[in-house]
Point group: C2
Chain length 305, copies 2
């Protein structure tokens, strides 16, 4: 039987994931919970981590490598930022150590782009990226990591040259809940990327991004004048925001960059459809695999066998 | 002393304005309140109108011309829409009459653009536009009426050829209050169009509209990395949204159109600054004057002396 080598933790704002990794690299145990930074700031980071480690009977001295919001200023121990351009492998050297009597606990830093005209930050995605890069060829890549705050990263030869965050997921939530469109979207069902209303909205936003907030209002007018259904209205809202993001991010990339989508489940399917609607070919890497592989790469560098 | 000829009412979603106009066209009395459609839907349109008419001792048979949300489906009496392209003067012929024992009460219709790819509606702005046009030269005009839902109207020779609504004001409110930027903007003071943070944000959004939601996130990152102050953050949020609107609306206009801004007070000053930052010359017409002049033009056609 394989012995546990380390624990890998992806600690987000609202989620906690832990894997126990064996000496042969196998996943020996896995834990998921909603105890993200927001919960941990009150309940205590150490208490939450130890309770999950106890639940999988981890040895008291098993080392732990962590990425994500645990390293934010309002997190456990601030892990700062590495400035772009940054070779991704350098995040390991900039890890901070958490003072602990038993374990060796390291938190990986985020990345910062300090250029005032394009100030940007990420925390957690740099580790996902480190994992994703292991399965990509050389050359220039444009890596899309969709979510509440979607990140698009320009990488060449393992170096992050720059990146851009788009508030897509958050705007979808805020507009759905708090704007006049909340009436139009009320009781809308689930939609997916195969909905023509989604694909045409993506294409419209890519074609004329300056009309984005007009396209948003046209959802309301479409309901008033043409009885646009709530589910189609949701699909259009999503398509407009994702199309705006894709057009903007693609415009910043080096010509000939390969687009790589790092995502899982329904979000991966939605962005695959959006990239197709924008006529941009892409490959997909599973986001869960990517963050685990990134933490594994960091662990190998921190604690060589 | 001049005798009252009619009452003119601009009945918005959240505001009510009434003028008593004399036979010589002079303003004999004026009333303003927050009893818009939202309040009137409960309190009663007739009750609110009559209370304001009593307050200025209007004669029981004084006729009333109304524009705005009183004519919406959820308003007093539905006044429908005139379809674009529409000669503005035709709104008078499409006015509906409210059943009333004493007075002749007419509600003017809105405008609808039924093209599915650019579905749009306005209600109230068509009357403002009718008033604004009386002070414009011939030729093609691009008329900007900023607000919660900014309208940009393409007019040639008194005919509305098309128009586009941008959700600018509402997005500013919703993002300020409900997104992650609420923390960054908290306790920000007043800003105006002379703030360089506003002008540079307008220019950035006009230059690269596809980056709009990335520019929004850069406000948050600017606070984290460069200590961007809350007031500057508010100015940037406003500039990004207004710049996006201006770029989009201008892109739809006929080459050589004259830009006319119909606005009052601080909003007029803000849009004047934004149009300057976008290097687009414009003339300004006061919005309050415009709606009153539009209602007056309708009254003259409805009740010729």
């Amino acid at each position: 039987m394989t012995t546990a080598a380390y624990a890998a933790v992806d600690w987000g704002t609202s989620s906690f994931r832990l894997w126990i990794i064996g000496e042969n690299g196998a996943i020996l145990a896995e834990r998921r919970s909603g105890e993200g930074m927001t919960t941990a700031a009150t309940a205590g980071f150490s208490a939450i981590l130890e309770s999950h480690l106890r639940a999988v009977s981890a040895a008291p001295h098993l080392p732990v490598v962590i990425c994500g919001m645990a390293g934010a200023r309002q997190g456990w121990v601030e892990a700062g930022y590495l400035d772009t351009p940054a070779p991704l492998a350098a995040i390991v050297g900039a890890a901070v150590t958490v003072a602990d009597d038993n374990r060796d606990i390291r938190i990986l830093p985020g990345l910062a782009q300090r250029d005032e005209a394009a100030a940007d930050v990420m925390r957690g995605e740099e580790t996902q990226l480190l994992g994703a890069l292991s399965s990509l060829e050389g050359g220039s890549h444009l890596v899309c990591m969709p979510g509440t705050h979607s990140k698009w990263v320009r990488v060449t030869g393992g170096v992050v040259e720059g990146f851009s965050t788009f508030m897509t997921g958050e705007l979808f939530e805020v507009i759905s809940r708090h704007s006049i469109l909340s009436h139009t979207l009320a009781n809308g069902g689930a939609f997916d990327g195969s909905d023509p209303a989604f694909a045409s909205a993506v294409a419209a936003a890519v074609r004329n991004p300056a009309l984005a907030t007009n396209l948003l209002f046209s959802i309301r007018a479409g309901q008033l004048l043409h009885g646009l259904a709530a589910t189609q209205a949701k699909a259009r809202l999503s398509g407009i925001l994702i199309g705006l993001e894709i057009g903007g991010a693609h415009g910043l990339a080096k010509a000939g960059s390969n687009i790589c989508l790092v995502a899982s489940g329904p979000l991966a399917a939605l962005y695959q459809s959006a990239l197709s609607a924008a006529e941009l070919p892409s490959v997909t890497i599973d986001a869960d695999d990517a963050v685990r592989l990134g933490l594994a790469a960091a662990a190998r560098a921190l604690w060589p066998a």
